[in-house]
């Protein structure tokens, strides 16, 4: 079983970077730069783990998270200096990323899935 990861960030280069770094045989990553499209696809995708950017022009991280399946673990990824999300995320990962930390989060959830 592979870990199905959803990554939403309006920064397409970052989406690509994330996918390049972490997608492998056991981790499947789908990225969206538009939260609306992400919402349209979430039911079909059935992700095990979701990363959501906070500051997205059309919809902020709080709003997006509240529209995503509540049971799915969600992490906030943000460049804000002092993120204060209303949504109760599983964790906050500030940009620029500590990639070791990201790797760790992914590994934890992969392990849980298995």
């Amino acid at each position: 079983m592979s870990l199905n990861v959803m990554f939403v960030d309006d920064e397409e280069a970052l989406c690509e970077c994330f996918k390049d770094l972490f997608e492998n045989d056991s981790i499947k990553i789908t990225t969206f730069s538009d939260p609306k499209i992400a919402l349209e696809n979430v039911s079909a995708l059935k992700p095990d783990l979701i990363f959501v950017d906070y500051r997205i022009p059309s919809m902020n991280g709080d709003e997006l998270a509240s529209k995503l399946p509540p049971a799915t673990p969600k992490y906030l990824i943000t460049g804000e200096l002092e993120p204060k999300p209303n949504y109760n995320f599983n964790g906050i990962l500030p940009k620029p990323f500590d990639y070791k930390k990201l790797e760790q989060v992914l590994a934890e959830h992969l392990k849980a899935k298995k």
């Binding site: 970052l14 970077c17 770094l21 460049g79 804000e80 200096l81 002092e82 620029p96 990323f97």
Partner: protein, 648 residues
């Protein structure tokens, strides 16, 4: 003259023969009287009449007088002759009936005297005659008459003068006196006795008795003035007082202006002193009231005569400028000496401009006194002569130190809130910028990780990759540092913060400037020290101190900054030491004032240290220059709080 005397004597002899002839028994006294009259009152006439007025005998001068008097009547009755024309000093024609009582004496040897005048056609003026009549026998009267026109006229004019003088003296309440230094006799005008009712006896009046009118210390001044008068021959003036009570504010107190001048004889020898004393009690009382009002509002009054450079200051002025006693006018040091040295040139320039073309000189003068720096406000009027050049400056001064301090405090408050507002907007901007920077940073670092994973790199390339990562980290730290500002827009709160942590944050933010200027910076602290503070505010202070230090030492050889923190008794001491040679003493107490800056115009606002001081004092701490280390050192002290550090 000799002829006159001889003929007078001849007539007298004739007369004496006549008297002898009339079997008149002369006494020794009568003889002496006649001799005296002849001796002392020549030229004069002698007429012997009987009690009916019949002229029995007359001498040459008498003939002359009688001839003119009797131009119209040929009679030889003395009364008829004189009654027709004589008038008294009030210019009333003397009636015949009055004459016997005025000139003739019923009996005895009493003397009568009358001054009467007549219009002389010959001389075309009034001739005044002095008649002295003596009853020498039962029936006969000897009348001595002489021309006293000159004396009467003199007397009349002097009387008029005296009358004028005395009314003037009364009006001005001035008494005058004249001392004869040879016999110490003193003559005084009537008004003097009115001024000093205690000096009722003109006979016993002397300098001592005038002197004794005044209070003890003024007696000494009086005596001194007399001596000065004699020595200098010029007019000397002085104000003296007399009072019975203990204070010059008593109702009994009176004041007098005394003026004296020596009188010299033709040879230049001082023979006397003339003086005047004016009762100025009224004026002084008005002045006292005025001064009292000025004193109660603490307003000093001054006059500055520009030509003589004479300063006239009242007591409040003297107090304002913090002088202990009332100096003589000439002893008032130049007022500009009181101005705080840094401001002196500015104030003097302002004064010179005003003197050239303005009617006023209004200024606030910072002055240095024994009790510290003060501010004196001055409002003055410039008086000019017809040609427009300034003659004098008159005005008032008062203390505005409190207002000034308030103004400064207010200004500081304003600057601080301005600074806070600046920080707030910087914070807002920081938040926006941080997000914009962090996204690309995430891409760079992510790509770097990817490249390291995918590429076979040699050592140099690996080092370059590491350089990318380090740079990302550095940018990230700087952006993180801005976080502080974004938070400061919220209400600041004090908390427990570790000094080392605050310092390392400061070093991150100041690092670019420090490195750019080649400054070696180090922090020395032997243990973690926690203080209760508003982290952002304190960080501001530290950054400011570091920036100032860099500005001061940049360009010098091997510039360095050392930051030392340690606990000294109950205090946390934090020293910012740099390689500079210390702050010059002349500016040491100025650098904490707002707008004080040594930096080139445009590179500093001069707000840094004054605000820093304000922040630190708000934290219950202090900031000062420590000049004991040889290098420039700003020393900060905070209260060391045991419980904060115990928990740690």
């Amino acid at each position: 003259m000799v002829i006159l005397v001889i003929s007078g004597l001849l007539i007298l002899l004739g007369l004496l023969g006549l008297i002898k002839f009339l079997s008149f028994q002369k006494t020794w006294k009568e003889q002496k009287l006649s001799c005296d009259i002849m001796k002392h009152h020549l030229p004069s006439g002698l007429i012997l009449v009987d009690r009916s007025g019949k002229i029995l005998s007359k001498n040459y001068f008498a003939i002359k007088f009688l001839k003119e008097l009797s131009s119209n009547s040929e009679g030889d009755n003395f009364f008829d002759i004189v009654a027709e024309k004589l008038f008294d000093s009030s210019e009333n024609i003397l009636e015949r009936s009055h004459l016997p009582s005025k000139i003739l004496i019923e009996s005895g040897l009493e003397e009568e005297s009358l001054i009467a005048g007549y219009d002389s056609e010959l001389l075309n003026s009034v001739v005044w005659l002095h008649f002295i009549s003596k009853s020498i026998t039962k029936n006969n009267i000897l009348i001595h008459l002489m021309d006293v026109s000159e004396q009467v006229e003199k007397m009349q004019s002097s009387m008029v003068n005296e009358l004028r003088l005395s009314s003037a003296q009364e009006f001005a309440n001035i008494g005058s006196f004249e001392v004869n230094l040879l016999n110490m006799k003193i003559q005084a005008s009537e008004q003097l006795f009115k001024i000093f009712p205690t000096l009722s006896d003109p006979m016993s009046l002397n300098l001592q008795s005038i002197k004794d009118v005044f209070v003890a210390e003024d007696r000494i001044r009086f005596a001194k003035l007399v001596q000065e008068c004699i020595d200098s021959k010029s007019v000397k003036a002085i104000r003296l007082s007399s009072f019975e009570g203990s204070s010059p504010l008593d109702q009994s107190a009176r004041w007098f202006d005394l003026r004296m001048q020596a009188i010299a004889d033709d040879a230049g020898k001082i023979v006397g002193i003339s003086g005047s004393i004016q009762d100025v009690t009224e004026q002084v009382r008005i002045q006292q009231e005025y001064e009292l009002v000025l004193k109660s509002v603490e307003i000093g009054v001054f006059k500055w005569c520009l030509r003589t450079n004479e300063h006239i200051w009242d007591i409040t002025m003297i107090r304002l400028f913090d002088m202990n006693s009332i100096p003589q006018n000439s002893d008032i040091p130049p007022w500009e000496a009181f101005i705080v040295p840094d401001e002196r040139v500015h104030v003097i320039n302002k004064l010179n401009t005003a003197l050239q073309k303005e009617d006023r000189f209004d200024v606030e003068i910072p002055i240095a006194t024994k009790n510290g720096d003060r501010f004196v406000a001055c409002r003055s009027f410039i008086e000019r002569d017809d040609s427009g050049s300034a003659i004098s400056l008159r005005g008032i001064c008062w203390d505005v130190t409190k207002q000034k301090q308030l103004e400064v405090a207010l200004e500081n408050e304003k600057l601080k809130s301005l600074q806070t507002a600046k920080l707030a907007s910087l914070g807002e901007m920081a938040a926006g910028i941080a997000h914009e920077i962090n996204n690309p940073l995430a891409i760079i670092s992510g790509s770097s990780v990817y490249l390291k994973m995918k590429l076979e790199l040699d050592e140099k390339a690996k080092a370059k990759m590491q350089m990318i990562d380090n740079s990302v980290e550095r940018i990230s730290k700087i952006v993180l540092g801005l976080r502080k500002f974004s938070r400061s827009s919220a209400v600041s709160k004090k908390g427990r913060f570790e000094l080392g942590h605050i310092l390392s944050d400061c070093l991150v933010l100041t690092e670019p400037k420090v490195k750019q200027n080649g400054v070696l910076i180090s922090v020395e602290m032997d243990k973690s020290i926690y203080i209760l503070c508003d982290e952002i505010e304190i960080e501001q202070v530290f950054i400011n101190l570091i920036n100032n230090a860099v500005d001061a030492i940049k360009g010098s050889v091997k510039p360095w900054i050392k930051i030392k923190a340690f606990v000294d008794g109950g205090e946390v001491v934090l020293r910012f030491i740099d390689s500079g040679n210390g702050i010059p003493k002349s500016i040491a107490n100025k650098i904490f004032q707002p707008f004080y800056t040594t930096k080139v115009v445009g590179s500093g606002t001069g707000l840094g240290l004054s605000i820093s001081k304000g922040i630190i004092e708000e934290h219950g701490g202090s900031i000062a220059i420590n000049d004991s280390l040889g290098n420039t050192c700003f020393e900060l002290r905070f209260k060391y709080e045991e419980e904060l550090n115990y928990v740690a």
